[in-house]
Subunit: 271 residues, 2 copies
């Protein structure tokens, strides 16, 4: 069983990419909806939530955890001091690697939350592999609320996307990382602003590909082919609006029922 | 000492109104920034956070608590089963009463978060006092992120405000409740859409007035006039963006330093 978590339901786009590659792997997804979003919060608080979520998933018996949230992933990049008893994947390093592969000019744009951009996580990940690359980042705090409001094909959203992207476009990037799990929903809107020649990189595909490599090399043990490929969806708060947004993000795939869990209470029981 | 709390820093507009009326009252403000916003979350989760925040403030020694957050207040309206050892004020009932007083036609509009509107808190509070009143509510999930982005005097914000307010304006309301502590910052934008003849009601003024009445009638004990009127600002997460938004909301009044506290840990110590 593989665990995934996100601050909310945006990470379901990662779950979908992982499910597409590994049809018989059992997956458990944790959406920390009671404390979302992480993107406006401090690195210290995000790190505390990250540790609680990973611990919760390990107690459920997963063999690896995917941090399916860029803001939570951002506190992991370049941190050799953070160690876990099982492999923990962040979405930033595979996204950065993918951007370097597809970029011809090594001028790369990054869109993300305040936390992801302020922590310079993509900058660090890119420059570790390609020190000569130029990285231009833009925090886009309104994009998640716009997606959650369901305004993804909307002239107002296009205007806001235009405002956020204009400074990045002015830097002549040839590749743009959609550095938040909600953003691929806005792909058409980004395309409209950046034109047909800029590559749009989705971390969900990149992390699924990395997992595949790790199964090949034996770093991760694959599930026996008779596994049923179950999907368990857990949230820390089950409000009707989350259910609705989750259904929209996963469409046309239908959604498993969401089950509510209490991280703090479960961990008290284990202490 | 009086305690106030909000999911974040929006409630500072209430703190400012209370401070203006009671210059020598000691105030302690708790912003639950580690878990904000409440407005997208379920009533069950909001009620749990509310109970923790009130308990935290009682342990600090306050004589009364003002729930300076409409989403948190919304779970209190009409709930006779929720009892606390000290007076707990919500911002919805005073706002509703004020709207009924100023409305000539008793056609009242309400803007709020998803939680406030879904819980029908203003509807209940208004119709308890004025059963013949017509209430038209609109959830406006993007307005808080727009204020936090600092776009309050911006054509894009005006377009979004126009979209949210158009159905309310079509109902010929003569009074509009700004049912979220962030919204008074958007007053000019609302004014532009509703025109000069609609009354805009700010709950911050209404709750400060109610407190004044309760000091007069002796329901609340006033502080001795030699009190220094100290203001303590506590947050559960101190990210730089919260500091910046807080400073903007309180301008031109300068901000006291924010101190970080951990609700869960403090309460474990008391258990």
């Amino acid at each position: 069983m593989i665990g995934l978590f996100d601050s909310g339901i945006g990470g379901l786009t990662v779950l979908r990419a992982v499910r597409a590659r590994f049809p018989n792997e059992n997956l458990v997804y944790l959406g920390d909806t009671a404390r979302l979003p992480y993107g406006s919060k401090s690195p210290e608080t995000i790190e505390r939530y990250l540790a609680q979520n990973i611990r919760f998933l390990i107690e459920r018996g997963v063999k690896a955890v995917i941090v399916a949230c860029n803001s939570a992933s951002s506190v992991l990049v370049g941190r050799k001091d953070l160690r876990f008893p099982i492999p923990v994947y962040n979405v930033i390093e595979p996204g950065a690697r993918r951007a370097i592969e597809v970029s011809k000019t090594q001028r790369i744009g990054v869109l993300g939350t305040r936390a992801t951009v302020a922590g310079r996580a993509y900058d660090k990940a890119i420059q570790t592999i390609a020190p000569q690359a130029h990285v231009h980042s833009q925090a886009c705090p309104l994009l998640v609320p716009l997606v959650e409001e369901g305004w993804e094909n909307d002239p107002l959203t296009n205007l806001i996307v235009y405002r956020y992207l204009a400074p990045i476009v002015a830097q002549n990037v040839d590749t743009l990382i959609m550095g938040c799990t909600h953003y691929p929903v806005l792909r058409e809107s980004f395309r409209r602003v950046v034109g047909p020649d800029v590559e749009l990189v989705d971390s969900a595909d990149a992390i699924a590909k990395l997992l595949d490599d790790d199964f090949q090399t034996g770093r991760l043990r694959g599930s026996p082919s008779h596994n049923k490929g179950t999907t368990e969806l857990l949230v820390t708060d089950a409000s009707p609006s989350f259910q609705e947004v989750a259904a929209r993000l996963l469409a046309p795939i239908s959604l498993e029922p969401l089950h509510q869990v209490d991280l703090i209470e479960e961990q008290k029981r284990h202490d």
